[in-house]
Amino acid sequence: MRSVFLIVLCASAGVAFATHASALALFLAAAALLAGAAAWLDGGPDSAKEIAVIATLAAAAAAGRVLLAPIPDVQPVTDLAVISGVALGLRAGIGVGATAAFVSNFFLGQGLWTPWQMLAWGGCGAAGALLAPLLRRRISLAVTCCILGFAYGFVLDLWNWYAFAPHTWASFIARQAAGLPFDIAHASGNLALALAAGPELRRMLERYGKRLKTEVVWA
């Protein structure tokens, strides 16, 4: 049932791309990617602990984002997603990033960008998991979070441009340039938070990570 849904989605995305209905095509592509990711995440072992941990961290990230909403683009989601990935693995990183995007948008009401934010922040979580051995020190973690801030902005501006702007180089550069101040705010926020609290968060998450996998010794 779910695979049928996915195939239909991908097919319509292809059609939309072919007919130059760019915004729609990208929406469908995003939806397909998210549906695929959800299916992959669901395929894992049924674990109340994992869901509870992902939900808890996503809630913390979402609450932080809502709190900092007056300062545009400064939020703890990127850092929390990355550190979740580092400490708890790929599924946790992607789960925290994507869920935080979805939930915080519910409170902030910016639904239009949600699928792309879910993909971008989920990607940050994945990056954290994949680069985990390199991100144990304060500086490397902070620099990575900073770079991911710019990458996030690039992805979102890219979609924005492809969907709603004329497809010329000029408008592409204009869109990226217009987004630059926000991207700088985002990246600086990530950097500052990771410098101030990065390794502490990672250590703390690793402590709880140990409790995720329990072992019983029978006697």
């Binding site: 402590r207 072992e215 010794v217 029978w218 006697a219």
Partner: protein, 445 residues
Amino acid sequence: MALARVERLTFAYPESAPALRDVSLEVEPGEVVLLLGASGSGKSTLVRALAGLVPWFHGGRFEGRVEVAGRDTRNTRPTELAGTVATVFQDPEDQVVLGRVEAEVAFGLENVGTSPEAILPLVRRALAAVGIAGLGERSVTEISGGELQRVCLASALALEPELLLLDEPTSQLDAAGAEAFFELALGGDAGVVISEQRPANALRYADRVVFLEGGRIVLDAPREDALAWLAEHRPAWVEVETGLNAARAVGEVACSVEDVSFAYEAPVLNSVSLELRRGEVVALTGPNGSGKTTLAKLVAGLLEPKAGSVVRAGTAAMLLQDPGRYLVRERVDEEVALGSDLVRARAMLAAVGLAGSEARHPRDLSTGERERLALATVLVAEPYVLVLDEPTRGVDPERKHELASLLRAQTGGRATLVVTNDRAFARAVADREVSIVREREPALA
């Protein structure tokens, strides 16, 4: 045939000393068994063993046998036992999964595979049974803590379990709420095992009482015999009303509250006056919602009055409710040193009985140890005025006596205000008692 049987259970959580040692217990169908014991005595572990959560959820070293309704927990996961066994835990906030009351109660029924047509009628029946039939459509964030705990009870009762487990279910409720809760929970014919640190309410309903200490059972007897044994060997657990403390010399005024009014959205305090003197301990009592915590925060300076004045002769410190949640450092000694320095921190740790735990991570401590740590963090700065908000919530009777003695012994030049609902504790700790009533005029008692 026993409903549940525990045979020579010895269990240790990962990387810890055994929490239960050679424990054996039998629960008959329909019986109400009350487990008593201090924090860390193993009562919660025993309850979880009956649910299968120990060892499957927590991991650890498991020796012995636990059998519930004919199923051995060595071969049965807690998710399999669900439905036969249902548990209500301590904090409703940490049990509720979904946002709507009806959906929340239906969650368990869905998980165990109840046929779809039967689900909603069972949900409605359970909500009616606990007296909140009208709350079905409400959001869980809108209802009070007492109502939320009833939702959790409904979720458990809806499963029509053979064995109902209650792990300190009333610690977040006030006296009236606790009484109502037990009435509702024990009305059915399921076997019930209750774990409690405040036995007053539960003792009335228990058929049998089991007392645990250091992971071992030291008493397992029918209620009447148990009461006698407790009165003789563990008198703290059978609460006896003591007289007021002898009056002591007190010094000059440490804090003066004059004609203070405060409102959140609705007015809470209206023209209240209070005086605290150095060297005395004052208990602030009154029903829930009468403004005790608000007055306490005004005394401590955490809130500014809308009218009137609060004058303090020196620094103030306040210990809020559930302080174990708010520990911030990675080492116990650093936690206490936060308001002060390491030398005084170590001394204070010794005074509260935590010497030797300096290097441990605060979140590795047991609940009882965390409360002592929290107390140390407010005492270390040697404040002129110390305010404590419900320090005995969820604390066992022996520890309450310790706390009362500690607060009275350590007064020095300090004025202490203790907000509490616990009459016995108020009598044990205070020199005088001030009562707030809904008319918002304090009356000296």
